[in-house]
């Protein structure tokens, strides 16, 4: 997965940017507020179509202009494609090789990125939704159809919750949405379990190699609502069938039917699940030190890349947003050791200090200054 050329027009403070990135390391250097993260955001958008920042379309367009354009030439396994996104307050339009993409599900998977920024450093202590997002992003990278499944589940969930808020919900209709919730919910849980089963051993290997060979790192899927399947440790070869998950969702819905009517929303299902991260058997988020937390998260991010390379045989583009300033010197060195040891893989790194970045070959440095990007 290679980004050969990137063009931004009227995107945030980037009036007109054209760069030809290096196939390995690209350092985006400049003071704060000059547009470094905007450049990463542009690449991220060309992959996921939504941003990692919570902003409206209009906010992404340069002030006083109607629309922004992002365009990239990407190469995947020798196959070259032109990806373009037009952003205006009315919405986004995606083009692949100059033809309009009508269904995003046909587009997802064209550009693969893994993002690592300061906001990721809190995921182990943050809310479960942040950890679900980590899992979902990783699955989505390799299995684009997952986005459609999630959309279906969300729709059913919204309809069901709307029905639960009615003073006297139709029983038969509630059953209908219950059945659909079970079907679509099982799709999502199966995908997540499958990911975690393969990911957890990679994470353990990564953590031991990079940080400490004496510690074991693991993650497991946590369905707190499930009586039988609570905290299935799939990596310990305890396998669970789709039928069992469906059955468990059904009985979960039954058990909570009174409470959910009172509260007016669905209390169980994959939208409430969590990722349980453990270091030597103890939850890292609550028991781990600050340093252990950061090491664990760094290992998770590195392990996702390794997982995608090993299982799906492609290297995603890695976007590192100012992480070096957040990591201590040792972890920072460990991160760059990993990056250098890989044979391949394109990386974009933003930084305010060039000397944070322990790289001195296979690279290009771009100076970012007031929305202008110069190949230094």
């Amino acid at each position: 997965m290679l980004l050969d050329a990137l063009r931004c027009r009227r995107f945030r403070n980037l009036e007109s940017v054209d760069i030809e990135p290096h196939r390995r390391f690209n350092i985006l250097h400049g003071a704060n507020g000059q547009g470094k993260t905007n450049l990463l955001e542009a690449i991220y958008l060309l992959s996921a179509v939504h941003s990692f920042r919570n902003h409206t379309n209009a906010q992404m367009v340069q002030f006083g202009r109607d629309s922004a354009t992002l365009e990239a030439r990407v190469d995947r396994g020798g196959h070259e494609r032109i990806v373009r996104i037009e952003i205006s307050s009315g919405g986004k339009q995606v083009y692949l090789n100059n033809s309009i993409v009508r269904q995003l599900s046909d587009f997802f998977g064209t550009v693969n990125v893994v993002m690592f920024g300061p906001q990721d450093l809190s995921i182990l202590k943050g809310s479960p939704s942040e950890r679900r997002e980590f899992v979902d992003d990783a699955i989505f990278n390799a299995q684009p159809a997952y986005a459609t499944e999630q959309q279906h589940y969300d729709e059913v969930l919204k309809q069901r919750n709307a029905l639960l808020k009615e003073p006297d919900p139709d029983r038969a209709l509630l059953d209908v949405y219950g059945e659909q919730l079970v079907q679509y919910g099982a799709d999502i849980i199966m995908r997540r379990l499958d990911f975690i089963e393969h990911f957890s051993p990679v994470l353990d290997r990564t953590f031991r190699r990079i940080f400490d060979p004496d510690f074991s790192a693991s993650v497991r899927y946590d369905m707190k609502w499930s009586s039988k399947l609570q905290g299935i440790e799939r990596y310990q070869e305890v396998s669970v069938s789709r039928a069992e998950i469906e059955q468990d969702l059904e009985s979960g819905l039954e058990a909570t039917s009174g409470t959910e009517r009172e509260r007016g929303y669905t209390l169980i299902g994959p939208h409430r699940d969590d990722l349980d991260a453990r270091l030597d058997g103890r939850p890292v988020g609550t028991f781990g030190s600050q340093g252990q937390n950061r090491a664990f998260i760094l290992a998770m991010k590195i392990a996702v890349i390794t997982y995608l390379e090993e299982r799906y045989h492609f290297a995603p583009i890695l976007l590192l947003d100012d992480v070096s300033s957040e990591l201590d010197r040792q972890r920072n060195r460990q991160l760059f050791d990993f990056l250098r040891q890989r044979d391949d893989g394109q990386v974009f790194i933003t930084t305010t200090h060039r000397d944070f970045i322990h790289l001195d070959e296979d690279l290009k440095v771009f100076e970012v200054d007031d929305g202008k990007v110069i190949d230094a």
Partner: protein
């Protein structure tokens, strides 16, 4: 809110139509203004006529100018098979295939609690009446119901709900097949579509 300016009023009237934004609405308004009067007359007349003359077929709820629609009146069609569709556009789409010679039932919507549409807000009770009494179906007893709502989440929920209501009546009920669209790529098909296409596969 009505203003005193007829142009502003026309623009906001056009803008209430689906798919028409403020800018298109104002382009349409100025177009009508600059064309000869006959255009405005024709449009006004056609708009009033559609509301005055088109009503729902008393049997199948299709749009018609008479009491019953031309399909329900056709003697050579099979009135014992009813194809249930969400709206008149879907009926037209199925008619255009020329593959179906039974009767229809138009729901005029799909169930969606989010939009405040429940089972009683679509024309389901008329359908159940037709299934329960031959009189309500022009004298023919219904043998089979084909549910042809879209395979979207709402269309599926509506179809499931219908099947629960129809099952006790002991009438054959089927759902149109869904699967991989012709001309699409397997690799980009979502898992639920693919798995359904697999489970509903047919012999070659």
């Amino acid at each position: 809110m009505k203003s005193d300016d007829p142009i502003t009023n026309l623009v906001s009237a056009f803008a209430r139509l689906p798919g028409i934004g403020e800018r298109t609405a104002s382009r349409l308004a100025f177009y009508v203004l600059n064309e000869p009067d006959s255009l405005a007359d024709d449009i006004a007349e056609a708009l009033m006529a559609v509301k005055d003359q088109v009503n729902l077929c008393e049997r199948c709820c299709n749009l018609t100018q008479a009491e019953t629609c031309s399909i329900c009146r056709a003697p050579d069609r099979d009135h014992s098979t009813i194809c249930v569709v969400a709206n008149a556009q879907d009926l037209r789409a199925i008619e255009n295939t020329g593959e179906f010679d039974g009767a229809y039932h138009v729901l005029h919507g799909v169930i969606s609690p989010l939009e405040g549409v429940g089972p009683d807000d679509i024309h389901m009770s008329e359908l159940l009446e037709r299934l329960q009494s031959a009189d309500a179906n022009g004298g023919t007893e219904v043998q089979e119901v084909i549910v042809a709502t879209s395979p979207s989440v709402d269309g599926e929920a509506t179809s499931l709900y219908l099947s629960k209501a129809i099952k006790p009546l002991d009438i054959r009920i089927s759902r149109i097949a869904s699967g991989v669209p012709i001309g699409s790529e397997l690799e980009y098909t979502d898992k639920s579509t693919l798995s359904r296409a697999l489970s509903e596969r047919r012999e070659l």
